[in-house]
Amino acid sequence: MSALILFEIKKFFAKKKNIIGIILFLIVNIFYIICCFRNENIINNMKLQACYHEIEMQKNTLNQAKADFDTASKNNNIKLMESISKSIKSIEQKIALSEQRKNALEQNDWRLLLETEIQSDKIRLEGIKNGTIISELEPKDLKYKIEKNQYLLEKNIKPSNELVSTNALYFVKNFFNDIVPIILIVFILYFSADIVSCETDNERVKLLITQPVSRNKIIISKIISCFIVCLLIIGIIFGIEFLCLGFLSGFGSSNYPVYFDTKNFSILNSSGSNIKIINIMTFNVLLLLLFLLLLITVISIGVLLSTVFGKSRKAILFSTGGFLVFYYMCEKINLFKYIAEYNPITYFNIPKILDGTTASFYKNFNITALNGIIILIFITIISIVLSIELFKKKDFI
């Protein structure tokens, strides 16, 4: 078996098609990192611009309120004067906070920025409760945000632009959020869908079949070798990216807080998510472990399609194209939202599963990491058994 696996790996790296695939994947990754750097700068500038704009708007509102107050005082409308006076105080408080926020942004003082954000979020939360403020964020989300910012402040951790962070540890999370669910899966399918069909396509398989090796071993060795190769490619490319970003933007604190839905590994049913804060290191370890399972599942599906189609081009086209169409139907059109918990594609975005975003999106709290593990293991076993049985019964004409 080891001879078969080693030879499969050797064959993989000797094929031009695969080398082109690896180079393409590398280019996509570099492009993604460049976009992250660019977006990080844009967001930093936007934050400051938004702050200026907000202060200007608040000052205009204050002037308007003062004018209204003068009119009310001329009319001797005491009730209105009291009400406007309250509003003026509130606006002045907001302006003070915004000014503080602006100074924090200009001076790059992240501690002051955090303090300001906590204060303004608390005011916002109070306002939502009193019904004086309408916010796009729900009170529970605001509470999580306050909790997280307090954690950052207590642990003295510099916050990062989470959606586009080039900070190495946060990049891991973003990579699995942005690159893995579509792009990486397509590449894995591209490699795995070729692994059986490329041999049946040009009759090379006959050399192997006429050796004293069982067909089961041939398929299993192909799955294992594809897993090793993909892991090697992703590991090397991702490892280099991680180190480069670490040296360029910093590795970040291993205690950086991220949301985690505790329902993910709970077998008890409950009607909602239960978010708590865990450190990014723990989150990334869970992420990588789940990714290993996802990798095996995708490879098994690719090998099954490769066995079914027999022809290399057909297998690659059907698996990658089919996946993209199916992904679009699931994620964009939401065609299978009622059976989302049984759909493997739901679990392809691991960070969103772990932080409970997917469960909240589908309003289905059975979408948990544990459920994902069961679904992916089930699909992996079915795919491997079918591949073996089909390959065993296949006539190589």
């Binding site: 030879f7 040009n202 090379r204 006959k206 079949i209 006429t210």
Partner: protein
Amino acid sequence: MSVLQINSLSKQIGNRRIINDISFSIEEGEIVGLVGPKGSGKTTLVRLITKLINPDKGEILISGYDILKYREKAMTLISAIMENHGLYDYLTGFDNINYIRKINKIDKEKIKNVIEYMGVSEFINDKVYKYSAWMKLKLELGICMLKDPKLLILDEPDKQLKLNEIYYLHNILQDISKNKGTAVLIMAQSLSNIKNICNKILYIKNGKIEDAESTQEYFIVNNTLSGLKNFKGEN
């Protein structure tokens, strides 16, 4: 015990019966030619013997081992060269031969002997896509000989070869058969290519091994009287 024993073998692909109740045997050290026109079932027979495809009916025994029940054991006893070579042409000749050595758990020393015997040492480290048909065939023969097989099967090996290369090939096959006791089953469309080296000729037509009378007709039609003599066992 026969090296190859085929009993009542049949195979249908689609609506066509490609192999129709075939029975024959090959003994140790024998060189047997299987001659027949295109589409007569020669290649299908090779595929059945090497279990690339499964028979509908019948039995294939390799040195007494039923290929359906003891495939792996039977495969240690046979080597085959298919119509279209099965080499990995984006790898070197050495990679190809070494791969088969590892699968069969054969000693490393054996590779050196085989490379030397087949005369492929000059180009063994070149990528196979650079090889000519004759170089590829020599490499494939080397790969086959690694196992010291009891039965060597060649499906129309001389298709793209020049006359002098065919002559060399025949010498190699005769040597293997004589000195190693390997039985050889060689498929050909034309009797003239193999008549000089075969101990026995079988004629296949429409998936059936034909009787002596039909075979006589075929040889006469193909104007190969010496083949007929061989077939009859005359000198």
